[in-house]
């Protein structure tokens, strides 16, 4: 019996086009601007949504299949890691302080990215970008969850992880830096979100953020984190593609979009680079086995790769953000200035700090020949001397924070590394302080937004950072102790020096038990 000849099979691309395109329609019973109320208020003009290609071109069945396969592998590794005391394989428990910073500072951002991309996935009036954004939204909750799952095992054995991935980012002073970045992006409209997170964060800066942490994990024997990192790699590649696609789409749709997009690129490049201060510090100071210096990473991933990107965007009229001139100066300083700050405020941080040892200082001298010996080594030597005499230096007053990036005002003038940089703006009869020309510029452009900032130091002084029911008039009231309690920082366990910490002692004892017969 002859079967009837099969109809010609559709090609993959053609099939995908049918699967997703044409699903949407111009509504007529309800006006389009009510169905998509956020599509125009930012001033971006779009004439043809069909021109935004969905860069992923994944049907749901393919997505489920590929992602499930990755999940099965990832969780098999995490289970094996937990079963075999994988945590004892890291270079040193000191390394885990970088991971604490990641869990409390980065994982919560993955979560907010998930919600923000869901909003973008609802709000754009085109199927291609909506589906792409929703796929990124679901990927981002994957990342938040797999990070928590990967690091959950460390929480069982080490201090500083127990508050989890959301409590501290709302409260702790240095975590308001990444938090306010994402709050800023999500409280803007969907197009600015795409430039802020889709383009600047996921495309321009991901090699300086995600990659250093994952490479640090690989270099330091952290199999849990690096397995997550490898597993997320193909997701991240998709997200980078989406980020680039969206900016080209906006620029191609209407010439009036160029100045708006340029303004956002300038703003988010600087916002992002300020957040990266924490990563720079992690790379230069927190890894027992270092991957590369912050300065090297900046030169490779921003100056070289980013330069190529901006060359590519030049045909649309996009210029390299002005702040890059300052970044070229800053790359020699910011990681040191940040670590010096954390060293002084180790009592108010959810991870341990330490002074770099002689070998580490030599490495820093070699990596930063223009600045380290001149400006920073003497500081560490002085602190070492004080610590040896039993006078370990803690700074017990709280620092002023920048109104925009929320980093303590510790950065120096571009032309004088011995002078703290302050900028001031007046708005509605009040003075607002920023740490740099970049942040001042951002403030002056949207003062009504940045005056709302919840600045952790101001809030402490206003008495808003104590557990419910605290009575500040009670006898013997210790405000800092109450702040730590509200932060979920266990004083003496999670904070202070690594030297002499419970983590250090436990790791030595456990590794001893695992490798010796005594």
């Amino acid at each position: 019996m002859d079967m009837k000849a099969n109809k010609k099979k559709l090609g993959l691309k053609e099939k995908y086009a049918h699967m997703t395109r044409g699903l949407d329609w111009e509504t007529t019973y309800q006006p389009m601007d009510k169905v998509f109320p956020q599509a125009t208020f930012e001033g971006i003009k779009i004439h043809d949504w069909e021109k935004w290609e969905d860069p992923f071109r994944l049907t749901m069945d393919a997505y489920w299949k590929y992602q499930a396969e990755k999940e099965r592998k990832l969780y098999a590794v995490l289970d094996a890691f937990a079963q075999n005391n994988g945590h004892l394989g890291i270079t040193d428990a000191r390394y885990l302080n970088a991971v604490k910073l990641f869990l409390t500072g980065i994982s919560p951002l993955e979560y907010v990215a998930h919600r923000g991309f869901a909003a973008a996935g609802r709000n754009f009036p085109g199927v291609g970008p909506r589906v792409a954004c929703l796929m990124q939204s679901i990927d981002e909750i994957r990342h938040a969850q797999t990070q928590i799952h990967a690091l959950s095992n460390y929480n069982k054995f080490y201090e500083g992880f127990h508050a989890g991935a959301a409590h501290q980012i709302e409260r702790i002073w240095y975590l308001s830096v990444p938090k306010s970045f994402f709050d800023d992006a999500f409280s803007a409209g969907p197009f600015e979100w795409m430039i802020a997170i889709g383009f600047s964060f996921e495309y321009v800066l991901t090699n300086l953020l995600f990659v250093p942490f994952m490479s640090g994990a690989a270099y330091n024997g952290d199999m849990a984190t690096v397995t997550f990192g490898f597993s997320a790699q193909s997701d991240e590649a998709r997200h980078m593609t989406l980020g680039l696609e969206c900016i080209k789409f906006m620029l191609e749709q209407d010439p009036d979009n160029l100045p708006i997009v340029q303004k956002w690129i300038d703003k988010w490049a600087w916002r992002g680079i300020r957040v990266l201060t924490l990563v720079g510090m992690m790379m230069d100071y927190m890894l027992p086995k270092r991957v590369m210096s912050w300065k090297e990473a900046w030169e490779i991933y921003f100056e070289q790769n980013g330069g190529a990107l901006f060359n590519d965007l030049a045909k649309y009229g996009i210029k390299v953000p002005d702040c890059i001139t300052q970044c070229t100066v800053d790359k020699e300083h910011i990681s040191h200035q940040a670590w010096c700050t954390f060293y002084q405020y180790a009592h108010a941080s959810a991870f341990h700090t330490w002074l770099p040892n002689a070998e580490e200082m030599d490495w820093l001298s070699a990596k930063y020949p223009n600045t380290f010996d001149k400006y920073y080594r003497p500081r560490y030597e002085q602190w070492r001397e004080m610590a040896d005499k039993g006078e370990r230096f803690y700074n017990n007053t709280l620092p002023m924070l920048c109104q925009v990036c929320q980093i303590p005002m510790v950065f120096t003038e571009p032309d004088d590394p011995t002078k703290i940089c302050y900028r001031e703006s007046d708005y509605q009869g009040e003075k607002y302080h920023t740490c740099s020309d970049g942040c001042k510029h951002i403030f002056d452009d949207e003062p009504e937004k940045y005056i709302q900032a919840w600045l952790p130091v101001h809030q402490i002084y206003m008495g808003n950072c104590w557990p419910e029911g605290t009575d500040p008039t009670a006898e013997g009231f210790d405000p800092m102790a109450k702040v730590l309690e509200w932060y979920h920082i266990e004083n003496g366990k999670d904070n202070l020096d690594y030297e002499g910490s419970g983590d250090q002692a436990n790791f030595a004892a456990w590794r001893g038990a695992a490798t010796q017969n005594t």
Partner: protein, 329 residues
């Protein structure tokens, strides 16, 4: 018999994170718990959204429904991303093998013409209804409150996209790309589809996310899915259209599974307070009649003169379901 491998045992300092210890005690938490509870920020936000200046980014006041603890709305399936994708991957594998068999053996050719036309007229335009379901659930993901309910709504949104794609594929198998054009044409201007399109568009402009949950997930899906995947499917199977049933297998399983999750949300929210119960019931009554009207001409095409009976049955089964959930409808 059992063998006993020895390992180096280290006593952990704690078993899980603070917020889970508070909630469930200091014991090992499940991956669902670790990945879902309290991972949304709650109290402190820096800037008012430019698109909703009266509220904060994650705000409990974006719905009339109120809960003392939003994390009471947990997912009985305990889906976190890994569990969800692994479950769907298994289902899609089964669906894929059905489609392959139908395509390879030309089984679509054996479907009686009349049934095939019903499938083209009724199932294929539903891809647009599914797209509406995707939009509603992505709205909830973005603006809802508490990860235990926003997270499964994203999975549900992606499922709707998946279902829209399976329905698309049914169109392609039965009649090639022309089927999609015909379905779009019917959706945009065919008389039978206008009440449904009107209804779906009304859901796209709702502001209260829990109202969308009720209107879309409980009521529209609660009437539509059984109509398509129980009643119509039974007709297909009985009259020689098993190939169509094979192609809707994913949806049949999916709708039964998701209904359990939806029920748990409604039941918990209704039990929380008399105000919630009253509001939920009022929404159900309103959307039940709107949905029924929107379904009537489609049921007519699907079931002919049995349409009224089928709709009456569907509504009475739906009412029984709501009564079990504690609603007064």
């Amino acid at each position: 018999m059992q063998i006993d491998l020895r390992t180096v045992a280290i006593k952990p300092l704690r078993h899980t994170f603070d917020h889970l210890v508070e909630r469930f005690g200091d014991k090992s938490a499940s991956r669902y718990q670790e990945g879902s509870y309290n991972i949304q920020q709650e109290h402190i936000f820096h800037y008012r959204p430019t698109w909703d200046a009266d509220r904060v980014l994650f705000d409990k006041k974006r719905t009339k429904i109120q809960m003392k603890d939003w994390y009471a709305l947990k997912d009985p399936r305990q889906y976190y991303y890994g569990a969800y994708t692994i479950a769907r991957a298994r289902q899609q594998e089964a669906a894929e093998s059905s489609f392959e068999m139908i395509e390879d053996r030309g089984l679509a050719e054996l479907i009686p013409a009349e049934l095939k036309q019903i499938a083209l007229d009724v199932l294929v335009p539903m891809r647009h209804v599914e797209w509406g379901g995707n939009m509603g659930n992505s709205y909830i993901t973005a603006y809802g409150y508490g990860t235990v309910i926003t997270q499964p709504c994203l999975y549900h949104a992606m499922d709707h996209l998946g279902v829209a794609q399976y329905l698309t594929r049914i169109g392609l198998v039965l009649d090639g790309p022309d089927a999609l054009d015909a379905a779009k044409e019917a959706w945009m201007s065919g008389a039978a589809w206008q009440p449904m399109r009107h209804h779906v568009e009304n859901l796209l402009v709702l502001d209260d996310w829990f109202e969308i949950f009720v209107a879309q997930n409980l009521v529209l899906e609660g009437l539509l899915n059984p109509m398509l995947y129980d009643y119509l499917d039974a007709d297909f199977s009985a009259k020689g259209g098993t190939a169509i049933s094979m192609m809707t297998r994913f949806m049949a399983e999916w709708s039964a599974e998701t209904a359990k999750w939806i029920d748990a949300q409604i039941k918990t929210a209704a039990a929380e307070s008399p105000e919630n119960k009253e509001q939920l019931s009022a929404w159900v009554k309103h959307y039940r009649s709107a949905t029924r009207e929107a379904l009537a001409p489609i049921a007519q095409r699907a079931f002919g003169d049995k349409a009224d009976d089928v709709l009456a049955d569907l509504v009475s089964e739906f009412n029984a379901r709501c009564a079990k959930l504690g609603l007064a409808v």
